[in-house]
Each structure stands twice: as C-alpha cells, then as structure tokens.
C-alpha cells in the first residue's frame, strides 16, 4: 500500500509538473522571463519567429516561446488551458472568439498600457484598432494584419473564353440580371459537350467547369461567399457595428441578393451545396480546373498562386447597385490572458508585434498577409509584386474606402448555428429566402 501511495504521489507531482510547464516561469532575477505565445497558422510561424528573435535581441531579458496548434485544436486547447490555468501569456486572437473570452474575464484589457506608452493607433488601417474594443469600451488587442476579398481567376480559362483581363477589373453586378459580372460567369461556364453557359443547348446537369466556385452557404458571415454582393447592394449586418443589437438578415436587400446568388446554382454556373459538401475544398477543385474563378480572402493568396496546374490572376469584386465595390475588412490581433504571470513582459511582446519593427521590417517582406500598419501594407504590396502577384485588387478597397468592418457581435456561435441551418437550407433550395424572416427573429431573440 505504501508503495502504491508513493507511486500515486509521484504521479501527482508529474501531473502538476506538466501543469505548470505550460505557463511562463515567474520572473527571475533581473526581470528575465519567458513569454508563452500561441498561434494557429503554420504558414505564418516563420515570420513571427523572426519577430520573436528580433524582440529578444532588443530585450535580452525576455524570451518568446512560440507554440502552434491547428485551428480546431487551438480553440479547444485554449479553452481547457484557461480552465486548468495553463493558458499562454499571449495568443493570436480572432474576432469571432475574443468577445466571449473577454466577457468571461479571461483577457487582460490593454487600455492602461496603451495610455502609459502613448501607442499611436492612427498608424493602422482605418477601423482595424476599433475591432478590438468591447462594448464596455475596453481594448483587448492591437491589430497585426488585415484581409479583404477579391476574385481570383484562372488566366487560361479566361483566354479560352476570349475575355480580357481589363474587362475583369470593370465588372458590375445587380440583383435583377446579374449585370456584366454574371455574363462573364456564364461565359466561363462550360459543359461536357463544350457548350458555354450563355450558349443555346448548354446542359446545366453536366457541367465540366463552373464559372464561379463555391465554398458553401457562408452561414451568417458569408465573408468570401456573399458579403461583397450584399454590402455593395447597400446592406449592413446590423443596426450598428461593432456590437449590433439587431441583425438585418430579413432585409429585402439581403434577400434579393441571396436570391440572385443562389440563382447561379440553379442556372448551373455555380456548384450546388451538395457538390460543395462532397468536395475536399474549393482550392483543390479550382486547382483541378473545375472552377474558372472564385471569390477568396487575401490570406489565401499565396496558396492559390502556388497551385501547380493552374495560372491565376486577381480581379476586384464587382461594383454593385450602390455604384461602389465592397469588401469586409477583417483582421487578427494578439490578446494577453488575464492570468499571465508577466503582464509587463506580455505587453512588451504585444506592443512589439504591433510595431513597425515587426510588421514593416519582417512580416511585410514575407508576402503572406497584409500587415495592419499602413506603411507596412505598401511594403507588403511590393513584396507580393516581387513574387509576381499583383494584389492591388485586394488593397483597392482600402484605397477607395469601400471596406466595411467585419461584424463583431455577442452570441456569434449561436448566430452561426441558426444561420448555418437557414442558409444551407436556402442554398439547397429546401426553403426560399423568406425563411430568413424566422432566422432573423431567432437571431434577434438572442439580444432580447
């Protein structure tokens, strides 16, 4: 018995040992500290490792330890880490997740630090810094990057269809007949017999190449699926943003846009939801030449351009009935956990990540994302151009001020659950757009 008790004791020691190793060691002599930092994007780890090295060089007392988890593991691990007290000091946050964590008191507000160090928030792209302020006015993050949406198309397919790249930059769209945008999509669609979507005898049940790819119904967000249409039709997600108290999913403008958009499926220009659900992913189908064009977020640019079998180019999203283009403006930031042992060290690291030293000198040159700092964005554009990618169609929204801040709201997970079901149902023609009335009532009920 004694022995087994001893073994059990050792096991407990081991467990607690494991438990504490996750968080940083308390500050030793001279304020030396290790900062635990988590992120999910393996493609961005090298550039932030470079930032961490530069940070350590500038502040020898601080060392940053980076841990990467895949997107799904990331949030589960983080949640359990909060419960067990093993959360990292700093982690990459996401707009759809941070309001919940902040509401539960798991994040450290940065206001005092920002005020003390007089951080200049005007260096970031307009609005980005506001995304990280909660309803009660507390700031939880400093922006590190941003993204917009554009059209990525297969240059070979475009040539075959006889469409010029210049035409792609001037497309316009409306919910009645789809405008020149739909004409291009129709012409890019080809069936098994080689008939194009706008030719007589086109067989919509046997499509070889869809004019436009699909990533699903987009649930209540539709960032890369339909937001560029609904917002260029003058629609907004809610009565205000951030922190809407009412959503507008039942708005006629939203309904007519979705009706037009799902109409592309019916016409055979866009794959049905069944096909999309039975596919590994939009990028793979595009890479296999099954889609002539797709609407995609800037964070995937590199992935598209590294596809082996297709050559791509980028075009801006179409001009809508408002006479303007539209794109959501979304971005990431780093959050500090409330339970960190080293608020000072964590803040120093977050401040460094949000500074030109990291974003302009290191991240911009990697040409994977657009850094949040305005001057760094310009550098990133240049770095992309050097890699042979013209990203102007992504940044044109910033220049022309046609960006709309991504919706930041409470109850986002519940909204997503309701809207996934409703939008999936509309996209698979199991219900018509009037099902949005009920869904919108359910969503607004959450804010009652």
């Amino acid at each position: 018995m004694k022995r087994s008790l001893a073994v059990a004791g050792a096991a407990v020691l081991l467990l607690t040992g494991c438990g504490t190793s996750g968080s940083s060691e308390p500050a030793a002599a001279g304020g030396a500290a290790t900062i635990d930092y988590w992120l999910w994007d393996v493609g961005q780890q090298p550039q932030y490792q470079a930032c961490a090295d530069a940070f350590h060089k500038a502040n020898p007392q601080y060392t940053v330890k980076i841990t990467q988890y895949g997107w799904d593991d990331y949030w589960n691990t983080l949640t359990t880490a909060f419960v067990s007290g093993t959360a990292p000091d700093v982690f990459t946050g996401h707009l759809s997740r941070y309001p919940e964590f902040a509401a539960q008191g798991q994040l450290m507000p940065l206001d005092d630090f920002v005020a003390k160090d007089k951080v200049d928030l005007s260096i970031y792209q307009d609005g980005l810094a506001d995304l990280w302020v909660t309803k009660d006015g507390k700031r939880y993050g400093l922006p590190k990057d941003f993204d917009t949406v554009a059209v990525i198309y297969n240059t070979e397919k475009l040539k075959e269809a006889g469409i010029k790249p210049e035409e792609m930059a001037e497309l316009s769209w409306n919910p009645q007949d789809g405008g020149t945008y739909e004409k291009v999509i129709a012409h890019l669609t080809v069936d098994k017999n080689g008939k194009r979507g706008d030719e007589p005898g086109f067989d919509k049940t046997k499509v070889a190449t869809y004019g436009i790819g699909s990533n699903g119904s987009g649930a209540g967000f539709g960032q890369t699926e339909w937001s560029m249409y609904t917002m260029s039709n003058g629609w907004q997600y809610g009565d205000q943003n951030p922190w809407p108290t009412k959503f507008n999913y039942a708005d006629p403008k939203f309904k007519e846009t979705i009706k037009w958009f799902t109409g592309l499926i019916d016409k055979g220009y866009m794959p049905s939801l069944d096909i999309v659900n039975s596919g590994v992913g939009m990028i793979d189908a595009y890479g296999a030449g099954k889609y002539a064009m797709v609407t995609e977020g800037s964070w995937n640019t590199k992935t598209f351009f590294s596809l082996k079998d297709v050559k791509s180019a980028i075009a801006p999203t179409p001009i809508g009935p408002t006479g303007k283009r539209a794109s959501l403006l979304n971005g990431l930031a780093d959050n500090i956990t409330a339970g960190t042992d080293n608020p000072e060290a964590s803040w120093a690291w977050v401040k460094f990540l949000a500074s030109p030293a990291c974003q302009e000198e290191i991240v911009a040159k990697e040409a994977t994302v657009f850094p949040a700092i305005k001057t760094a964005t310009v550098k990133a554009e240049k770095a992309f151009a050097e890699a042979g990618i013209d990203v102007k169609p992504f940044t044109i929204h910033v220049d022309e001020k046609t960006t709309h801040l991504a919706p930041i709201a409470e109850h986002w997970a519940d909204i997503t659950a309701t809207m996934t079901e409703t939008m999936d149902s509309i996209f698979s023609f199991k219900s018509d757009v009037n099902a949005l009335d009920q869904a919108n009532a359910t969503v607004n009920g959450l804010f009652g």
């Binding site: 008191g105 798991q106 049905s272 939801l273 096909i275 039975s278 590994v280 997970a413 999936d424 149902s425």
Partner: protein, 316 residues
C-alpha cells in the same frame, strides 16, 4: 465461494478445540485483502476516469455552465429544453438511421467474411489483412475516403463517370449518412469478422458431422446450427458494435461537420458542438446523460433478448 473456504479452513485442523474458536480478523476477511489488491488498480481507474466524470457530468447537466465561470444550479431546465429541442430529436433520428445502416451492413459483411475464412483458410496473413482497416486511425480513414469520394476530383467519381453514369455527391444531403455508414462499415468489418471467426472456432466439429449425416444442406446447416450456436458471441458483438456505432463522431467531424443543413448532425457531434463551440456545457451534459441512459437501456435489452448469458452448447 469465499465464505465456504473461510469456514473450511478451521475445520481442516480438527480435534484440538471442541467449539470453533473466535475467528481472527484475518480469518474473517479470508481472501478479501488479496482480492482487493487485484481489483484495486482497475477500480481506481474506473472511479477516476469513469465514475467521477459520470457523476460530475450528471451534476453539470443540472447547471448552466460555460467552463470559464463556475456552474450555477438551474434544476431540470436543461432537460425541459431538451424535450422541446427540434435539433435533439433530429440528432436522434439521424443517429438511428446511421446505426441501422452501419450495423446491418457491417454485421452481414462480417458474418460472410468470417464464414469464408472459417471454411477456406486459417492463414494468419489473411486474418491480419482483414484487420488492416481497423488498424488505421478513424480520422485518417475518413480523410482518405473524403478525398476518394470528392465530387469533382475524387477517384471514385471519375470511375463512375468513366462507366457512363452521373457523378454522385456522396456527402450531399441524401447520400451523406449512407456514405458515412459505409466508410465505417469498411473500417470495422474486419474486426467484427475476427470476433465472429473466434466464435465459429468454438463450435465443435461433431455438430457439423451430425448435421451432414442427417443430410442437412449448407444453407440449412448455417441457419439451424451455426447461427444458433453463435448466439452468445453474436450478442457480445452486437452490444459492442451498436454502442460503438452510436458514438460515431470522428468521421463526421472530418467530413461533413453535421451538414448539409442537419443531415449528419448525429447526437455526439451535436453534444460536441454545444459544448466546445457554443460553450453550453450544462446543456451538453444533459444531452450526454440522456444518451447514457439510452445506451444503457439498449445494451440491457440486447443482452436480455439474446439471452447472452446462456449457451446452447452446454447440453451437448
């Protein structure tokens, strides 16, 4: 049994004292300390990893709990919500569809495979090969099939088209559950077949000899001799595979994630979604508790109906 041996021990040395002496502690306890020593490790594991979490789960099902803040007791509210929750009933329906499809195909295929192996070969290599799919992780199996069944670029759909048929949206709303059931049947058939195969080996050859002397056909022998004698093994196989089947999760998490609409939102995925995506841990615990009762009931029924405790071989 133990109490008999305890009493037998003093009688083994007769004659010294007429009356049985007051028994020492050691004698009264008999084998108990040794028995406890043997059972203890498993008991600790059971208590720490099953009993305590189950009790805590039952308690949490009576609370509003989002993990990050302490639970608040709300009585039976979660259970009331559950009965009015359309998605819960949908999840049960979808799960039942899946279980029926999966169990029927899997058991029939495994039975065929087991009989074939029994009649044709005792080779270890064949047995190993049959078990191979089971050795591959669930997630990997799901991913590989997801690729192969891709509508646009999957090898299966390319073959279907080559045969002159229309491509099939295997993970679309009509096909998703049958497809997922099929994938898991593919993975588990070999394992189930080996269990049945072991059962077949326990049937004495003399029974078959008797059947053939009586002029029974192959078909009749299978239905009248093999199946009835396999009953205890089949009962075990069915209980295990039905419970396992109810717990389908990985395949769905990797492929459809509950969609399209709610076509594959099985109960386990719904619980996971509620807990880890929507932070409704209390409600998720209530769903789990109901599933626990349901599975316990089904297992009990199966064991009773199939008289798993008895074997028809005993009389022979």
């Amino acid at each position: 049994m133990t109490s008999d041996t305890v009493r037998a021990a003093p009688r083994a040395t007769p004659g010294t004292v007429p009356d049985p002496p007051p028994r020492s502690l050691r004698q009264r306890l008999g084998d108990l300390p040794v028995a406890i020593m043997f059972v203890l490790p498993a008991t600790i594991g059971f208590a720490v990893f099953y009993l305590w979490p189950a009790l805590r789960g039952a308690y949490l099902s009576l609370t509003k709990f989002n993990v990050l803040t302490p639970p608040t007791f709300i009585g039976l509210e979660n259970y009331e919500r559950l009965f009015g929750d359309r998605l819960f009933w949908n999840a049960l329906k979808v799960t039942a569809e899946y279980v029926v499809l999966n169990i029927v195909t899997q058991t029939v295929a495994a039975m065929l495979l087991a009989v074939l192996m029994y009649r044709l070969t005792k080779s270890m290599v064949v047995r190993g090969v049959v078990l191979l799919p089971y050795l591959v992780a669930n997630v990997v199996v799901a991913l590989v099939w997801y690729w192969m069944l891709d509508f646009q670029i999957g090898v299966v759909n390319n073959m279907i088209e080559w045969l002159g048929l229309d491509r099939v949206a295997f993970f679309g709303s009509d096909w998703a559950i049958p497809t997922i059931a099929g994938i898991n049947t593919w993975r588990h058939t070999g394992y189930t077949a080996l269990l049945i195969f072991a059962g077949l080996q326990m049937i004495p050859p003399s029974v078959y000899e008797a059947a053939s002397i009586d002029g029974a056909s192959e078909w009749k022998t299978f239905w009248r001799v093999t199946l009835p004698l396999l009953r205890p093994v089949m009962a075990l196989v069915m209980v295990l595979s039905v419970i396992g089947s109810f717990q389908v999760f990985d395949t769905i998490a990797v492929t459809t994630a509950g969609g399209p609409i709610n076509a594959t939102r099985v109960i386990y995925f719904y619980i996971y979604d509620m807990a880890f995506n929507r932070f409704n841990f209390g409600y998720a615990a209530a769903l789990s508790s109901v599933l626990f009762v349901l599975l316990a009931g089904i297992a009990y029924l199966q064991l009773r109906l199939s008289r798993a405790g008895e074997s028809d071989l005993r009389g022979s």
